[in-house]
Symmetry: C2
Subunit: 110 residues, 2 copies
DNA sequence: TCTAATACCTTGTATCGCAAAGTACCAAAA
DNA sequence: TTTTGGTACTTTGCGATACAAGGTATTAGA
C-alpha cells in the first residue's frame, strides 16, 4: 500500500469515473480509446482494463447505447451514446457532485 | 447493484473519506464518534465499520497519533491528532482535490 | 504473409466501504 | 449489588471498483 501523491490522486478519482464517462458522452458520442484520450487530457487517467468493464456495466444499466462504425485505420469502433436514462442519471450526478464539493468545503470551513 | 441517487452519492464519496478525515483533524483533534457526527453534519455519511478501520490504516501509515482521554459519560475516548507526516499528506491532498475539481470542469467544458 | 497499429475484452488481485455482530466501559436505576 | 442503557471501540464477511496483465480480432502496409 504505497503512499505516493499518485496513489492519493488515484484514490480520489475512484467513484468519479462513472460520472466522467457520462459527462463526456453527454457532450458527444465516443468509443473507448477516444474516451481514454479525452480523460487523460483532462488529467483523469484510466486504463483499458478499467474502462471496458465500466462501459459494459453502464450499458447493462441502460445508461448507454452503442453502435458499430467502420474505421479508416483499424478495426471497427463501438461508439457509445447516452440513453434517456443515462441523461437523467447524469443530471443526478451533476447535483451529487456539487453537493460533495459543498460537503468538502463545509468540512474545510469552521 | 442498485442505482439510486443515494448509491450514486455513496459511490462518489469513495476515496474522499481519507481526505475528509485528515481535513477535520487538521482543524482540531477528534475521536471516532465525533468525527462521524461532524462528517454527517457536512453531508458525508460514514458508519463505524468504515471509519475505525480507516483510522487504523492512517495510524499505521504514520499520518495520525492518538491519546486516550477519560470521558465524563462513558468509556474512554481515543483522540486522534494529525502527525507531521499527516500534515504533509493533507497538503498534498488539498492540491489533488483541486486538480480533480479542475479535471471534472475540463471534461464538462468543450 | 508477416508485422505494427488499433480496438475490444477477460481474468486475477487488492482495496475500500458497508452491514452486522461483538467487546468493553461507565453510571444510574432497581 | 446486579441490571440496564448509553457510549465507544473493534472485527468479520461481503459486494463492488480499479488496475495490471494478458488475450483476441481487424486492418493496412512492408
Amino acid at each position: 500500500m504505497e503512499n505516493t501523491i499518485e496513489n492519493i490522486r488515484a484514490q480520489m478519482r475512484k467513484g468519479l469515473l462513472d460520472y466522467c464517462i457520462l459527462s463526456i458522452l453527454g457532450k458527444h458520442e465516443a468509443y473507448a480509446s477516444s474516451l481514454i484520450e479525452e480523460l487523460k487530457a483532462a488529467g483523469m487517467i484510466v486504463v483499458e482494463g478499467t474502462l471496458y468493464p465500466l462501459l459494459i456495466r453502464q450499458k447493462n444499466q441502460g445508461l448507454l447505447d452503442y453502435r458499430w462504425e467502420e474505421s479508416t485505420q483499424g478495426p471497427p469502433r463501438k461508439y457509445y451514446v447516452l440513453s434517456d436514462k443515462g441523461r437523467e442519471q447524469l443530471a443526478q450526478m451533476d447535483a451529487a457532485w456539487q453537493e460533495i464539493i459543498e460537503s468538502v468545503n463545509t468540512l474545510k470551513r469552521v
